[in-house]
Amino acid sequence: MNSVPDERKKLKYKLKKWFRDLSTIVKKDLLSTKRVKQYFFAGVIPPLVMLIVFSSFTQISDPETYTVIIVDDDNSQLSEIMVDYVANISSDIAPWFTTIKVSTYDEAVVLLRDFTYLGLIYIPSGFDANITSGIPGQKGMVYLIVQNINNDYVKNYMQRLDEAVLTFNEKEHVSVGSVDMFAVSLDKTYVIDQEVNNGKSITLGIIAMYGIICGLVFGALNIAKEYEDSTIIEIANSPVRRTAYMASKQLISVILGGLVILILSILLFLLFHIEFRGDIFIVIISFVLITWIHSGIGCLIGLKFKRTMPVLLICIIASMLLWFFTGGFAPLMILGENIMLISRFIPATYWTEILIAETLYPSLPYILPRLGILIILSIIITLVSWYLISKEGFRS
């Protein structure tokens, strides 16, 4: 009859012990880290160097290829001429811009929100009718919605588009009675209505990458150091729960990673005047998730290789690869469909997308599914890594 309360007591005891193990190891690791000053410099200096190098590099880099969507709802003779104008300026004057035709406005908006394309040129129905109505002030409208990747090339493109509309008005002018009318107007909408620093997107990339590195490196090094110093023997011969040990190492990675990113963000603001936009809560949650996931992988790397130098090298190479497959080096859309497909299986893709969206284009319907995927992936990776450590233990 007493078995149920007994079971509850046992479970309560086990949980209490689990959390005690966790907090004991976390406290010990924090104390050790606090006393070794070089950990701090090792954490902050590399991303700062990376930031300066990459920012300088992007200033002189060649433009990437951008694609603009065109939706022609009017499907009239005049709207087709207009489409030809905008398509031509893309291909002749700025060859790095291409256009793609999409049949409906709704479909185009979805693509735009997915950051698949740079912008949308929309010619609504009634374009022809408005131009030819003869009513003063009635104009055919061309709408342009542009993502805020507004570097110099995009700005140049906007000017060219203005010129294309002017040319259309001059060459394809409509005479109403004896009066020639400038009949088309261009309406521009920026997703973000302020200028964005050129270095901002690359900075976000570095923060995204550093989230990955922090998780992998801190997780792996923490465990490899225990092997190198033989202190793993103390852990292996104590009644500490293996999962609590693993969780403590992951938690340490999140805390240290968070600290590094915080310091980095403050330095970015002070040195480069880069402000953070978007929902800080979502960014923190997704950062915790991505560091947690990667620290789980890092811990397994540490358990496997057991020495700090090989572990560090493996983690840095793995981070670079992950960064590549998540669009860190170049937008995924120009890397090809295969890489885009691979990227969908990499957790860091969703972290990068959330980070960029939160800063550039905050939209809950876009962000929440990605956050959900990150939560699912973190549960899966945690279960797998905890299972492996429970099975393998700390055997040398």
Binding site: K17, S230, I233, N237, G393
Partner: protein, 333 residues
């Protein structure tokens, strides 16, 4: 007391049972068909050269690795299947220095205590007591990285005792420490059985085993000899006795003494060392282990013949000699 009653008592005292253990790694056999028991309250020593499999036994005993064949039980618990139950029963002093260098001595002990779920009050009291015992109380708040090798070894030893284990497993605990620290560590180890602890000690220092072991095995992948008392093993391997004494050179000239030693006692002079113009030291080996018989006859003869005898000692071959005889190789190969 009958033999069966004695056997029964020994069985009851057997705390650790190692049964037909083999440990194989790819391309190498670390241990081959090892069986022995360790009794409650004894200092049991596993002695062997580097690579003999001593640390492998420690890893098997503590459930860190799985044997290829055989089983190990502590009380009735299998060290692998019931590992959670045996973890609190032993305290391990590993061969390596396994301390957190960035923590102080006290913090290292507190960390261990928390892992073993000790209450704060008990832990504080016990840590104070152990730090005093190890002579580290004055250095308790210093970082471990500032400690000498001997201090680290002593700290490891008291850490293993903190959770009051029944068994203390010491894997080469004095490796690379100075004589002073080694003596201090030996003193703690010798004191452990009086506190109800059973000690399992591995070493490749012969003098350490000679000084500490109640019983021992000589290991070189297989059990070369033992388990048994050192004396038993020595008598079995070298059933000889050496006596050494200082006497007057004039006594040898008469040849009475040498005739007596060789013919009556069946001894053989193995060395004759001049000490001065008048004195000489003789070493005689006997093919017997009956010390009393030899001693009585020798003393009676020298007294009856007024032969002056000084610095009389009885010697046995040491463990190193035993090892060389058993394995045919030098110990530290």
């Amino acid at each position: 007391m009958s033999e069966s009653v004695l056997n029964n008592q020994n069985k009851q005292q057997e705390l650790i049972i190692i049964k037909k253990i083999t440990k194989e790694y790819p391309n190498t056999v670390a241990l081959e068909d090892i069986s022995f028991n360790i009794r409650k309250g004894e200092i049991f020593c596993i002695i062997g050269p580097n690579g003999a499999g001593k640390s492998t036994i420690v890893k098997l005993l503590t459930g860190q690795i799985k044997a290829s064949k055989g089983e190990i039980r502590i009380h009735e618990f299998d060290t692998l299947k019931d590992r959670k139950k045996i973890l609190g029963m032993f305290g391990l002093v590993p061969q390596e220095i396994a301390l957190y260098n960035e923590l102080t001595g006290r913090e290292n002990l507190e960390f261990h205590g928390r892992l073993f779920n000790l209450s704060k009050q008990f832990m504080t009291q016990k840590i104070d007591e152990l730090l005093v015992m190890a002579g580290l109380i004055d250095r308790q708040h210093d970082l471990v990285k500032t400690y000498s090798g001997g201090m680290k070894r002593r700290l490891q030893l008291i850490r293993a005792l903190l959770h009051e284990p029944e068994i203390v497993i010491l894997d080469e605990p004095t490796l690379g420490v100075d004589v002073q620290s080694r003596n201090a560590i030996h003193k703690y180890i010798l004191d452990l059985p009086s506190k109800g602890k059973t000690v399992v000690l591995t070493t490749n220092y012969m003098e350490e085993a000679e000084r500490l072991a109640d019983r021992l095995i000589i290991l070189d992948t297989k059990i070369i000899d033992g388990p048994g008392r050192l004396l038993e093993i020595q008598e079995k391997v070298f059933p000889n006795l050496i006596i050494e004494f200082k006497t007057e050179r004039a006594m040898l000239k008469s040849e009475f003494l040498t005739i007596f030693l060789q013919d009556e006692l069946k001894g053989k002079v193995i060395s004759e060392k001049d000490m001065s113009e008048r004195h000489v030291i003789l070493q005689i080996i006997f093919d017997t282990t009956h010390v009393e018989e030899i001693f009585e006859k020798f003393i009676a003869y020298t007294k009856a013949n007024d032969i002056p005898i000084e610095e009389f000692t009885i010697k046995r071959p040491d463990l190193e000699d035993v090892f060389i005889k058993l394995t045919g190789k030098e110990f530290r190969e």
